[in-house]
Amino acid sequence: MAGVAVTTTINGDEVEFLCQPDETLLDVLRDRLGLTGAKEGCGTGDCGACSVILDDRLVCSCLVLGAEAQGRQVETVEGMARGDKLHPLQQKFLEHAALQCGICTPGFLIAAKDLLAKNPDPTEEEIRFGLAGNLCRCTGYDKIVRAVQDAATVMKGA
Amino acid sequence: MVEVTLWGSLGAAAGGLNKIDIEAKDIRELFRKLAEQYPSLEPYIDRGIAVSIDGVIYRDTWAKELPEDAEIFLLPRLAGG
């Protein structure tokens, strides 16, 4: 299988890679670029652990081919903090104990970031439906929802 | 001498006994004597037996002493999630 050469932007940095044509963006991020923040929980778009933002759209990177990233902007959990300053969502997830095992956390953070970008003042119901594509098996979602609510408040004030 | 209560299936394996009086000062001695006096219990002991002493379950500690007047109950060694 001939490789596909791809030039893309990840977390603001231009990146070039060679991938197999049937390789997913998730596999490229994890196995070729060492960005293991996005997780593979299912590989079929059902758990959201591999969520990334692709040109301002929240997607499951397991349902995107690496080749499709050509010329586009990819945002992963590794790009959320600015230097040593955590993103308000990251900070609020910590403060609200919104993670236990933490495997779903990167996906939730990315999904919540996308949610708040499009709806800075969501209701609880909007948060719950907005994050329904991300499975968490530890927390029962209670503390995740509270963390997102709190982060929204902080971000509005910022 | 302590009085030891067996759980249902263990009692059946011991020939239908519900309680056994046994001379044992600690859990180690209890298991040894049980195996000597009731060879049919050996597979159960090998698989793991927990000892409840006054309601506190001991799964591993052989050296735990068995007070004369204590409520001693044998249970299978449990699994958890």
Binding site: T44, D46, G102, R128, K143 | T5, S9, F73
Partner: protein
Amino acid sequence: MGFDPRHLERNFKSVGTSPIRPDGVDKVTGRARYGADFNMAGQLVGRVLRSPHAHARIIKIDTSKAEKLAGVKAIVTAADLPDLTDGNSEMYAILDNCMAREKALYDGHAVAAVAAVDAHTAKRALKLIEVTYEVLPHVTDVDEAMKSTAPVLHDTVFTEGVEPKPDAPSNVAKRTQYGHGDVEAGFSQADFVVERSFKTEQTHQGYIEPHACVANTSPDGTAELWVCTQGHFVYRQHCAELLGLDVSKLRVTSSEIGGGFGGKTHVWTEPVALALSRKAGRPVKLVMTRDEVFRASGPTSATSIDVKIGARKDGTITAASASLRYSCGPYYGMWAELGAMTAFACYNLENVKTVGYEVLVNRPKTAAYRAPSAPMAAFAVESAIDELAKNVGIDPVEFRIKNAAREGTRSSYGPVYGPIGIGPTLEAVKNHPHMKAPLGKNQGRGMACGFWFNFGGQTCTDINIGMDGSVSLAVGTVDVGGSRASLSLVAAEELGIAYEQVKAVVADTSSLGYNDMTDGSRGTFSSSMATISAARNAIQTLRERAAQTWDIPVEDVVWEKGHAIAKGEKYGNLASLSLKDIAAKSGNTGGPIAGHSELVADGAGVSFATHICDIEVDPETGATRVLRYTVVQDAGKAVHPAYVEGQYQGGAAQGIGWALNEEYIYGSDGRLQNPGFLDYRIPVCSDLPMIDTQILEIPNPNHPYGVRGVGETSIVPPLAAIANAVSNAAGVRMTHIPMSPPRILAAIEAEQAG
């Protein structure tokens, strides 16, 4: 270690607060490394070939074509994992489950594995392996499997626990019995008797992280394994035994674990990865797909339970009995036995009898799932209790209060209880505003109780004090839900220093003595005991060093608030020495300062919870909606309250999923129909309300701070609480879990049809 009653009055400084966890920043920035996030130079990709048949004799495995494929570096079958278990039937079951020997016993059973240079090649190689099967009749249903006409999985299994020994092999591996008194006499005194049969379907722990490991075996007999596990010492033991390695030459590092809930308590693919690595002479990474996780890891039992409970007019239960049939997968287990032990544990019963049957079926090997076996038994019993209360005409909470076990009650599984929390949780529920909130049309409220034993076990902890006064805490119980935070709080509490001064890590198997796995709600309970003991050992050394510094007898040095203080007026001019002061001079006073503890943390306190929930049912479609949910549970002492709440909420959410939608669905061909998160429906964010919690603290008399395990009990009441709520909302008693919309609608229509 006994409870120190001074802690009742004592104001803890660290314990009882909820600081940010030490592994938190890594987890929110994507830096934390889980099972699949680790790689080694030269690593190969491992993949497993699995049986498409529910039950089949393996006639022949021809790997010759796959071996010839360029890039294939090793292929293993059962022949490469010879039986070294020496008559240990539990280990043999694990071995046979890792790689099928004579027979494939379920859809998904591993039959061969390959290591290749990349995933493509590994996948192609699997297709080139030719397995000749003789397909055998199968049975997946627990009741069907018990029939004399059912296909028998093992002709060597004769029901244990019945006299005389049966003369024909059967799928009933074992019969167990618990109880006391005379139930027949008890039922004859009853004015009301409820007798019902219940079924629950098989569910999966549903951890989001699939099993993953990297194995590296060296020709010199040493090996290393990076793996997500609830117990790396246990995995080391299993792998060493199955591969014939020296235990101490196998170093196992537990990665961050992306959920386990009991499913990562014994090995699945890890011995296969090591065998592949041994054969290929290179590291092998083996990650299960989600499909493999569902088909071939360890879900919980499917059950079929009969319950009979009788009560007098005044509401006193006179007798209770249950017959419990639990599926074990193809191998012997003690799942029904746990159900039989826990079924009536909440109640004070004069006459009680439970009988459990371990049933072998062509499904994956059953593994522990959070308070294993208790939720199903509680569903049956708490449903019957609710119905009985209704028949007697007493409020369900009052009825339970009247019959609740208390200190001194002989439990239904045998021992007499010490101080326990069932009564207080019921009183708290009775007084909870949730119980008084109004309900609308098609809405119903249910409540139920639950019990779990909690375990202790072998535990080993090290404390090492840095020269700058910072403290590293090495624990051997895998952190599944924030225990590094709670154990750091305990270390800080004992040493009298700030939480931030402590850094907790989970040590690998070569750095610490043996630890049992994190199961049975034992992580914080056991490791906090070892941490307290290790800290006290370190304090002893700190006092000695201070005494040496001052040149006074150590008996005159006390440790208070993180400082050594010379006690006595004659030492009035000696300024106290902080931990930091002493650590700074440790090189001159005898070398590094450390505290160790190796212990068996016995005396785990039993745990009780009572849950309340409100459900709305759409009578035209059977759709349900959880409107409100409240958890009340005894924690003994909540070390890190936010994570205790998290355990309560998480267990409740898993229970809600189990109650309403989660189930393994097998086709008539014996194959699993829904091995994915699309059709194995765990609750999503929009399915749930906020989950209110109330933490009660009834000290465990066998822990210095009174701590009880908190991890598991929260999954026990939800099945029953929701069943009671749905039954109240729909006006028909639900007896089959999950209460999926088709089942609810069918029940409503059957009721309407009379």
